[in-house]
Amino acid sequence: MSTVLLLVITGLGLGALYFLVASGLSLIYGLMGVLNFAHGSFLTIAAFIGWEVGRRVSDGTWWGLLVSALVGMIVGAVVAAATEYFLIRRLYERHIEQALITVGLALATVALFEGIWGTDPIYTARPEWLTQTTEILGAKIPNDRFLLIVCAALVLGGIVLFLRKTRYGLIIRAGVENRSMVTALGIDVRRSFTLVFAIGGAAAGLGGVLASVYYGYVSAHLGSVLLIFAFIVTVIGGLGSLTGAAIASVLVAVLQQFANFYLGGTGDLVVVIALAAVLLVRPRGLMGKVA
């Protein structure tokens, strides 16, 4: 029982990371039709700069971590918005080329990160509580899992509130459904493109800082690893659906944990099989709109 609980909570924590990446991917794809391969790089740059600033302010304390998280979110948002504004926008409505640009950006930036911070992981200092465990029903749960879950839940709540309660949120929801009709109502939908990139970038940036807490290190490949799973989560959840991304994040991560434990470390394979199965049975994903 305690093992199951540990696996579930660890799965939720990992799912929280997936969600932070997948939420942006899903919104960006849903609204703009852009498959953003550079999303992992938003996460990585935010993790690095967040860590660089955080350790200078106060290394290994809650205060330092908070600074890291804020800096990470800002960096993620700014880099993402700049990507949209300077690169993606130039290829308006040319989805393949837009995806290709992000591929090039991902390759170039990962190489750049390696050049600056090296190829090896850099181990980070964390507040002490995060390195300890809490016992729940006999299961010793590492505390960082709770932080991840809480943060992802806050982000999910925040984005949902934004989408439901603000005019921009309304525009984004409408744009995901029928972008050209939104412009035909006199709305400059491109402004919300930049906004969606910024939101996705901020979530990924927070994800980057939290990933460095979860894994205990930062590295140039932090984003690339998470990106593949985030893609899978996005597709399983249904492209463009935030709720779908949230549900799929948890399902995928928990499934992965259980397979890793009970099926001899086959978590990655099981996830891939799950993706193939979902796509074949229900090509639009769990919550995707009818394409």
Binding site: F37, L100, T109, L239
Partner: protein, 394 residues
């Protein structure tokens, strides 16, 4: 490589990015000048002949090649470039001709490389003639590649567009994970698989025989080119192209695009496996890198860099990319770079950074890729279809 120029000139057959002429008519344009195909055929054959006798010559191109063309190092690099070109060519057939954006092409290249390596190891204890074992291993690997392609293709092609890309990515990821996991010590995990040379013909082993491997690679490239040409000229090729342009119209004509796509998927994947086998022999081993999604992305970059609309674009892209990658790595380690201030030194010492940036610039400013440059010069600078008011308004 014989006829590659034939259709680049008239209408960039199957150009996804430029499409200067209506696609269905593009092919007919080849007949406008009756003599050109012949000239180009001869030119193509001449080019292959020149490439074939390169190992016997001592041509030096400083800055591009690491040494004279007869040296093993240079031949090795050129052979590798040609195999990558062959792989890119097979990918272009799928992406450029049939419009199938796969993120799993590396899987089949890896299947060829690892398949042959594992087959050779598996057959090693068998008491057959060495040549027979080598041949049997190749046949087994080919069959494995075809079965794998048929399996993945039949599943992935049930969905289209981005979902297709994702399913192929998922399979490739599974393959990559399997290879890294090293089940039963068969793949060598992160270390990679080293070639068991016991049953490989002596002519294909050792530094001194690099020129044989070079010729083998050239042969693979020419073979892949001819197969791709044959598929494109076939009825299936025409249907695939028409499907890419307008699937509905093809369906209305009563043709089922699925079968054509499936066929092209299998042929392209098998060609990738063949290139993979050449890679194993050339490198005397296989590295798990060739199974990763990054490797597929690299192939995609190569095809786009060369020009999606052109067969020879994939070849040019493959060769340019490989040489750039190699030379940039050499440049990164040079004294010149080491002497630069950090702001310049760090990015310039990362070949992938330069290639990635170059790629972005090509996508933004050179939609036809390298192979599209002559076309652009002929027709004048083609306006990017970014609407002018969009830019002005931004």
């Amino acid at each position: 490589m014989n006829q590659q120029l034939t259709d680049s000139a008239p209408a960039s057959t199957g150009s996804a990015t430029e499409a200067p002429a209506p696609a269905p008519d593009g092919r007919a344009g080849g007949a406008t000048s009756g003599r050109r195909p012949l000239v180009l055929l001869i030119g193509g054959i001449a080019l292959v002949v020149v490439l074939a006798i390169l190992p016997l010559l001592a041509i030096e191109i400083p800055g591009v090649l690491p040494g004279p063309t007869y040296t093993p190092g240079t031949l090795q690099l050129l052979a590798y470039a040609m195999l990558i070109a062959a792989l890119a060519l097979s990918y272009r057939m799928m992406f450029g001709l049939a419009g199938l954006l796969s993120f799993g092409h590396a899987l089949f290249f890896a299947a060829g490389a690892y398949g042959l390596g594992m087959a050779l190891e598996y057959f090693a204890p068998v008491e057959w003639q060495s040549e027979l074992i080598f041949l049997a291993s190749i046949v087994v690997t080919l069959i494995f590649g075809i079965v794998l392609a048929a399996t993945v293709g039949s599943l992935a092609l049930r969905v289209t567009g981005i979902s297709f890309a994702m399913v192929t990515l998922a399979f490739a990821q599974a393959g990559s994970v399997l290879i890294r996991r090293n089940p039963g010590g068969a793949t060598g995990g992160d270390e990679g698989l080293s070639l068991d040379i016991a049953n490989v013909p002596d002519a294909l082993v050792g530094v001194l025989n690099t020129r044989n491997l070079y010729w083998l690679s050239l042969g693979i490239l020419v073979f892949v080119y001819l197969v791709v040409l044959w598929v494109e000229r076939s009825r299936a090729g025409h249907v695939a192209e028409a499907t890419r342009e307008n699937e509905l119209r093809v369906r209305v004509l009563g043709i089922r695009p699925y079968q054509v796509k499936f066929l092209i998927f299998i042929v392209a994947s098998t060609l990738a496996a063949i290139a993979g086998m050449g890679y194993l022999l050339l490198q005397s081993g296989a590295s798990p890198r060739v199974a990763t999604a990054d490797f597929t992305l690299t192939i995609l970059v190569i095809v786009v860099l060369g020009g999606v609309g052109y067969r020879w674009g994939a070849i040019v892209g493959g060769i340019v990319y490989t040489l750039l990658d190699q030379r940039l790595t050499a440049l990164a380690g040079s004294d010149f770079i080491a002497g630069l201030p950090a702001v310049l030194r760090v990015p310039l010492s990362e070949p992938l950074f330069i290639l990635g940036t170059l790629f972005i610039l090509v996508v933004l400013f050179l939609p036809g890729g390298i192979a599209g440059i002559p076309q652009r010069i002929r027709t004048g600078r083609k306006q990017h279809p970014v609407e002018s008011e969009e830019a002005a308004d931004a």
